[in-house]
């Protein structure tokens, strides 16, 4: 909903301070995943209590422990997280309650925002379906979203699709890193994730089950493995449809690798619902 808030700000319909107050109030209305799981009969109250006890000794979220114990499937957790996002009080409603905007003006703003979002989504889907290897790209995107959800417990959403001559990695120490893997078959394809430092540290901390604060070899290798699991799972799925590609080991590419290897890639930007993700999905047909 941060995107809706941004929309209201750019339209000059709310003030920055008013939006912050409303977002804080909105976060108080979130229904816990455990309660939703019981409501959907995915977990018993006893299981939720057991997980709560486990959480006293390990710093893990309910969904994560439920997945580990195989009490929830990844799809069930995704459904619960989506329900949680849909169930919380809408930002527009909170803004109206706080008197930031009259109901009629809010209804007009919501209608305009939804129309823009729907058109944007339609354009993205159309664009993706017309790309060469669209089946591979869609499958890679699906597994990327699944692995982000599984690892970080947050769903991701596509926000843009475009073509680029080359990715710009920058040169300072906080530059984003490009984790890439090639798959070879009838054609040679390249999949990559361009991630900023905080996203890399967050992913690696979740995967290693301990907080990491430096981009050391193990952290970078963990994210390479994150890419490896996306590509491996995706290629296994594609083989069922008769598409045969063999993965090479993933690695961290430098600017020279990108310049030499990654010509005209498809770039998909992805965000978490709260907007706090800086990830770019890249796909290219190698020369």
């Amino acid at each position: 909903m941060k995107r809706f808030g941004q929309f209201l700000l750019t339209r000059g319909l709310v003030s920055d301070a008013g939006l912050r107050e409303a977002l804080a109030k909105q976060s108080d209305t979130i229904v816990p995943v455990g309660a939703l799981a019981v409501e959907n009969h995915y977990l018993t109250e006893e299981q939720v209590r057991t997980i709560g006890e486990a959480q006293r000794v390990v710093d893990k979220r309910l969904g994560e422990i439920a997945l580990e114990r195989q009490w929830l499937t990844g799809d069930q957790l995704q459904e619960l997280l989506e329900t949680q996002a849909n169930r919380r009080q809408m930002l527009g409603e909170v803004l109206v309650q706080l008197g930031q905007l009259p109901p009629e003006a809010m209804n007009r703003a919501i209608a305009e925002f939804e129309a823009i979002e729907n058109e944007h989504g339609r354009q993205l889907r159309t664009l993706l379906s017309t790309l060469p290897f669209s089946e591979v790209i869609r499958s890679l995107l699906e597994f990327t979203a699944k692995h982000f959800l599984r690892t970080t417990r947050q769903p991701v959403k596509m926000t843009s699709v475009c073509f680029e001559r080359c990715l710009d990695l920058g040169s300072n120490s906080n530059r984003p890193r490009f984790f890439s893997q090639r798959a070879v078959g009838d054609r040679s394809l390249i999949f990559g994730l361009l991630l900023d430092k905080s996203t890399i540290l967050h992913l690696a901390s979740r995967m290693l089950e301990e907080e990491r604060d430096a981009l050391d070899e193990l952290v970078l290798d963990s994210v390479c493995e994150f890419v490896n699991m996306i590509v491996g799972n995706c290629l296994a799925s594609l083989r069922k449809d008769g598409i045969r590609l063999h993965p090479e080991p993933p690695r961290l590419w430098n600017a020279d690798d990108v310049e030499r290897e990654l010509f005209a890639c498809t770039r998909v930007e992805m965000v978490y619902p709260d907007g706090e993700l800086n990830a770019v999905f890249s796909f290219a047909v190698a020369g």
Binding site: M207, L208, E209, D221, G232, A236
Partner: protein, 130 residues
């Protein structure tokens, strides 16, 4: 006293080797060596004489399948479990045909790994589990 089941982990990913060692801590399994390549694993394989090998498929240099063949030629009854994110029926069949005992798909949880290893060891005649 029954000794722990000795595991040799082979994966080019330092992450996977770290997580396998972490997951098996305080279990009846003990990682006796973690090798980053097939060749590195073969260098220590005979000397360490592990009970079980966890072996990645996609690695630079010697592939998992080739490493598996060489291990079996040295020790025909070694229990080798293939570990990979590339879990198609075809991959599983190829590795089982060569002589792998089973196939563990990535990603896996601690519970997945321990239960899987127990099953592999319990299913053999030479189990060393406590």
């Amino acid at each position: 006293m029954t000794r722990k089941c000795r595991v040799l982990a082979v994966d080019d990913s330092a992450f996977t080797l770290t997580i396998i060692s972490t997951y098996l801590e305080h279990s009846e399994f003990e990682v006796v060596a973690a090798a980053r390549s097939g060749n590195q694993a073969l260098d220590v394989f005979e000397e360490l004489d592990p009970d079980v090998v966890l072996l990645d498929i996609v690695m630079p240099g010697l592939s998992g399948q080739e490493t598996l063949k060489r291990m079996l030629s040295i020790k025909p009854h070694i229990r080798v479990v293939m570990v990979s994110s590339l879990g198609t029926e075809e991959d599983v069949r190829e590795c089982l045909d060569i002589g792998a005992k089973d196939f563990l798909p990535k990603p896996f949880t601690k519970e997945d790994l321990i239960q899987f290893l127990r099953r592999v060891v319990d299913g053999s005649e030479e189990g060393h589990v406590q």
